[in-house]
């Protein structure tokens, strides 16, 4: 039965404010066109978006959770990448 299941798609929506497309969830659809139609029905019923992307879930390559430390921990000691690292004299009001 399971190989007759419609494939899974990931849905991304851009809101009216013109921000990046954001992942909102997933759904099953026979093809990409139908996935867009269904995403419209399921994820934009309250004017949540002005643009929809769908991507076949199997086409997504994700980072490995086991590599989390290796990938992301090196950033923890690089606080100088944030503006708040720099203490400026009071006279410099807005920078």
């Amino acid at each position: 039965m399971s190989n007759n299941e419609w494939p899974l798609w990931e849905v991304f929506i851009r809101s009216k404010q013109g921000l990046d497309h954001r992942h909102v969830g997933s759904l099953h659809a026979a093809d990409a066109k139908q996935a867009v139609q269904m995403a419209r029905d399921v994820y934009t019923r309250r004017m949540e978006g002005v643009s929809i992307w769908v991507v076949a879930s199997e086409a997504i390559t994700a980072s490995d959770p086991d590599d989390k430390a290796e990938l992301f921990e090196p950033m923890a000691d690089k606080v100088y990448r944030h503006p708040t690292f720099y203490k400026l004299p009071k006279e410099v009001e807005h920078m």
Partner: protein, 329 residues
């Protein structure tokens, strides 16, 4: 709603510390971090989530039936449009939840098969019949009201996909309760016969709704594990109490009487006391022996079977198109 049934016997026992992975997992739970699909998790945690999320999804979908039944008989175009929007939302809730369950490595078809075979449960509340238009009011006000109480703490659930689905659902849920209360309000401000319809609906739905929160804490076999795992945050009895405390003044505002002669404000506790709950009735409904249990499942099975040719045709068409595109390339 609709997560009550997870607290029934047959689930995992306690969380036993074991492997280093398990220790790391427990530490993450203790730090209130989210667990994501590809993270290591104990098998019992995964199984509990699959069971709870799929039961929750089934409840959303079966929950469309009592209300869907009244769409063609709504008293005005406005009420009809509102009811359709609500039922459509519930279908969406089912989808978000099935999708969350699928991240745990189960297939949607298998989950639906389990429901249709009577192996998976859904909320006891949807085994009751919606007999009059006033029931649309009572369901929105009370059933969705109870659902909100239950679902808000689930937005903080330790499993990321479930928590995210719940956030989306909770956003949509508050209109459901309000439209139900609005129906009750219209009936209670109408003719004496209309007000009587509202009272009759409250009389029939009150106790099943109170039961919806699940068995008392003392009998909840594995509440402990789900609490420790950060899946469940507030106990059945506490949620039930919260619901009752919030609902009694609303009933007073409507001028309706809650069908419980023992209902009384307890100043010492700062809560309402209620009369005894008929747990036999609850277990019958959960066990598939409620007034409409068989009809609900039969309706779902029929929908699934009668839609099969459409799903097959769409898939065949998609495969053909894809093959043609490959040839042309």
């Amino acid at each position: 709603m609709y997560t009550q049934a997870m607290d029934i016997p047959g689930g995992p026992k306690a969380v036993a510390p074991g492997s280093p992975e398990e220790a790391a997992f427990n530490a993450r739970i203790a730090r209130d971090e989210k667990i994501e699909p590809r993270d290591w998790m104990p098998e019992a945690y995964r199984k509990t989530l699959v069971r709870q999320i799929s039961q929750h999804a089934h409840s959303e979908v079966v929950g469309m039936l009592p209300e869907g039944n009244w769409i063609t008989r709504a008293p005005s175009l406005k009420r009809k449009a509102i009811l359709m929007a609500k039922v459509q939302d519930e279908g969406g809730h089912g989808l978000y939840l099935y999708a969350a369950a699928e991240t745990l490595g189960v297939s949607r078809d298998d989950l639906i098969d389990a429901l249709h075979a009577g192996k998976a449960k859904y909320s006891s509340i949807f085994n009751y019949a919606a007999l009059s238009w006033a029931d649309m009011g009572a369901i929105g006000w009370l059933v969705d009201g109870a659902a909100i109480m239950n679902q808000i703490p689930l937005c903080r659930c330790s499993y990321g996909p479930y928590a995210r689905a719940m956030i989306r659902i909770c956003k949509e849920e508050s209109f459901h309760q309000r439209q139900g209360f609005d129906i009750m309000l219209a009936l209670c401000r109408g003719t004496p016969a209309q007000k009587q319809m509202a009272q009759d609906a409250l009389d029939r739905w009150w106790w099943p709704v109170v039961q919806m929160f699940g068995p008392p804490d003392a009998d909840s076999v594995h509440s402990g594990a789900t609490m420790a795992w950060g899946i469940k945050r507030i106990s059945n009895d506490d949620l039930r109490q919260k619901f009752i405390d919030a609902t009694v003044p609303q009933a007073e505002l409507l001028g309706l009487t809650i069908p419980d002669p023992h209902l009384k404000w307890n100043g010492e506790r700062g809560h309402y006391d209620i009369g005894p709950i008929d747990w036999d009735e609850f277990w019958r409904a959960v066990g598939g022996d409620g007034p409409c249990s068989r009809e609900r499942i039969a309706t779902r099975v029929r929908a699934q079977e009668e839609g099969a040719w459409v799903r097959e045709a769409a898939l065949a068409h998609a495969r053909k198109q894809a093959a043609r595109a490959r040839k042309a390339a």
